[in-house]
């Protein structure tokens, strides 16, 4: 089911809200993408990289001790086992391959937590591209190990000092740099967000997660799962795993970051609390004030710390296809420790949000139901955050 409607809209969401200078670049990208997707050699090159470089297919692991506690069968889709430790690499390899095909010389990207930055730097190194990553000055401080990883991979990391100095400002700066060097530069967006064709393109590069999950469920269970759970930053790991199941009778649960709590105003729950708005080239739900200025998001998880959400996620939420839930920082931290102790897996704080709703989801389902959780990344990158919270006496 292709959800892209005319001009890259998903219902009222999506579109191409960019300066005129970029409109031809988006048209060029769209043309190149269509050609590449229709070209077997491109698809085969991408498939081979996913298999031999990323390590796909990733396993579908039964979380047996948690399943015992919950009275359901909880399966983890192990994107944490991808090279570089998260699903982000699926997308960056696809886009770098496309950049090569288009004859671009340099790669730019925005990053918040640094996961997308690392995945971009990795793909750029693999294919011999110059790579520049824009990162808010605040995040450069908060995510120092990922900055070092990007440096070691040969990328230049440019701290962004405008606005709130976080992910949204890094994206503004990447857009400015793209406008300025549009002929030579390929901009790799890290989620199913931005102007068309990015949301559809990133979804297509990530849908391998759900395609594999479906085949694995059929092989292991002989049936589809009752529910699938994923966390929502921009929505790439969620659309990655949901896309294969959109037309199936499977509950799709999308989990937003509620930060310090909905009532505090310090959260990243764009679907629940946002209004329809335009930012970074797309129309979608957006956290904003009474004058249409964007409000900073808050989450303990840097990868969910974004005031918007991808347009197709907004569309599926509005249409009722998704069950949208939200999880606070504290709940996510508890889930982090729970998975570590019960299954021997340190999940990314992003993925911990998805896990934190499992009791509620299990309660609604019949005992013995099968549930798949997208474990979008590993938690090693979050150790400093988690340890400092433990030191302050929280989160366990």
């Amino acid at each position: 089911m292709d959800q892209v409607m005319p001009k890259g809209h998903f219902g009222q969401f999506g579109g191409q809200y960019v300066a005129e200078t970029l409109m031809p670049a988006l048209a060029e990208l769209e043309g190149a993408l269509d050609q590449a997707m229709a070209d077997n050699s491109f698809r085969e090159e991408f498939r081979a990289l996913l298999a031999d470089y990323v390590g796909r297919p990733t396993p579908l692991t039964l979380a047996s001790r948690l399943s015992g506690e919950l009275g359901i069968n909880l399966y983890l889709k192990r994107e944490d086992l991808c090279h570089t430790g998260a699903h982000k690499i699926n997308n960056t390899l696809g886009q770098v391959l496309l950049a090569k095909r288009m004859g671009k010389k340099r790669i730019i990207a925005e990053t918040g937590a640094g996961q997308h930055g690392v995945a971009t730097a990795t793909a750029a190194a693999l294919m011999g591209f110059e790579c520049i990553v824009y990162m808010g000055e605040e995040d450069v401080k908060r995510q120092a190990p990922n900055v070092e990883r990007m440096h070691l991979l040969g990328a230049e990391v440019v701290p962004v000092t405008s606005g709130s100095r976080t992910l949204k400002d890094a994206m503004n700066e990447a857009i400015r740099q793209w406008v300025t060097h549009v002929d030579t530069t390929f901009y790799i967006i890290g989620s199913v967000a931005g102007p068309h064709p990015y949301p559809a393109m990133v979804r297509e590069f990530q849908r391998v997660i759900g395609d594999e999950t479906k085949a694995q469920c059929i092989a292991k269970l002989g049936k589809l799962p009752e529910a699938i759970i994923a966390c929502i930053g921009g929505g790439s790991n969620a659309m990655g795993i949901f896309t294969a199941f959109l037309d199936d009778p499977v509950e799709l649960v999308a989990v937003e970051a509620e930060g310090e709590g909905y009532d505090t105003g310090k959260h990243a729950a764009a679907i629940r609390a946002g209004k329809v708005g335009v930012l970074h080239g797309q129309k979608s739900y957006l956290l904003q004030d009474d004058d249409g200025q964007v409000i900073e998001a808050h989450s303990v998880s840097a990868g969910l710390d974004y005031p918007g959400v991808g347009p197709q996620v907004a569309y599926l939420a509005e249409s009722g296809r998704l069950t949208v839930m939200s999880v606070t920082d504290d709940e996510a931290l508890k889930a982090f420790h729970r998975l570590a102790l019960a299954e021997g897996i340190l999940p990314a704080l992003e993925s911990s949000h998805a896990l934190a709703v499992i009791d509620q989801v299990a309660k609604r389902l019949k005992p013995g139901s099968d549930v798949v959780l997208n474990l979008s990344g590993r938690g090693d990158k979050d150790l400093a955050t988690v340890l400092s919270i433990i030191e302050e006496g929280g989160g366990r």
Partner: protein
């Protein structure tokens, strides 16, 4: 009738148009009003007023900083419109457009924004991140309320797109003189000439060039290839450096210099 109609006569008379840009209520509301009036006295032909957005992805460092500072000082769409109204009451007669990003308009509602913009004394609107494809809803609403809708043509815009842009555009056409953001690279007369050369036979709207027109010499050079120039970052830099007390006089002197260069 929109005040922008007057520009056509000026162009027909052989004049080169000068349009300074001011970020709304920067450095403060009172100074902003003085700046608009000073620009009129110094020889501007029209004015562009920036309604700031928290995420100005088409702007360079100078206008970004001005936007952020004015927002931090509490500036809103309402407070900017109130200041423009005050300037009108004090004799501001030039055509004036609001330049902004789409979200503040969408949030307020296109209809309400357009009505209020007209009531404040504005004549046009330019929405940087609203290309003609996405303007199908807002542009007709703005026009029905009497606001001219100004659109951009960039160096990257293929000629095939010109008719689409022109079909939505009124008041004047804004030619982006560099591939980049405001206040970045220096405007290039060849780049502008390549666009205006093709546009000459396609429209009778005045064609103004902006982005990277930073001083009298570049204004003069660019004006040989266009009907006039829009000067933003250079003026906002001056405002930021001069401080509220001195900004109107300093900006007036700068605009007089641009005027002389264009007329000379």
């Amino acid at each position: 009738m929109s005040r922008f109609e007057t520009l056509k006569e000026l162009v027909a008379g052989g004049g080169k148009l000068l349009v300074p840009f001011f970020t709304g209520c920067y450095p403060d509301g009172d100074t902003f009003v003085e700046l608009l009036l000073a620009a009129q006295s110094a020889g501007a032909d029209a004015l562009e007023v920036g309604i700031p957005f928290s995420d100005p992805s088409a702007d360079g460092p100078i206008i970004q900083a001005a936007s952020q500072k004015t927002l931090e000082a509490g500036t809103t769409v309402d407070s900017i419109m109130a200041c423009v109204k005050r300037a009108r009451e004090r004799g501001l007669a030039l055509p004036l457009l609001y330049m902004t990003y789409y979200n503040p308009i969408l949030h307020r509602g296109g209809e309400k924004f357009s009505r209020e913009a007209i009531a404040s004394g504005a004549d046009g609107v330019l929405v940087v991140d609203l290309p003609p494809e996405e303007a199908e809803e807002f542009a007709p609403i703005a026009r029905a309320n009497g606001l001219d809708t100004i659109f951009l043509i960039a160096p990257t815009t293929p000629e095939e797109r010109y008719p689409l842009v022109l079909s939505r555009c009124s008041g004047f056409l804004y030619v982006v003189s560099v591939t980049g953001v405001t206040g970045g690279k220096e405007a290039a007369v060849d780049t502008v000439g390549a666009m205006t050369g093709k546009l000459k036979d396609m429209t009778d709207l005045p064609v103004l060039a902006g982005f990277g027109v930073n001083n009298a010499a570049s204004a003069k050079a660019i004006s040989t290839a266009a009907d006039g120039v829009i000067v933003g970052s250079a003026i906002m830099k001056l405002v930021g450096e001069a401080g509220p007390a001195d900004a109107p006089a300093k900006v007036a002197a700068f605009i007089q210099g641009l005027r002389a260069a264009l007329d000379g």
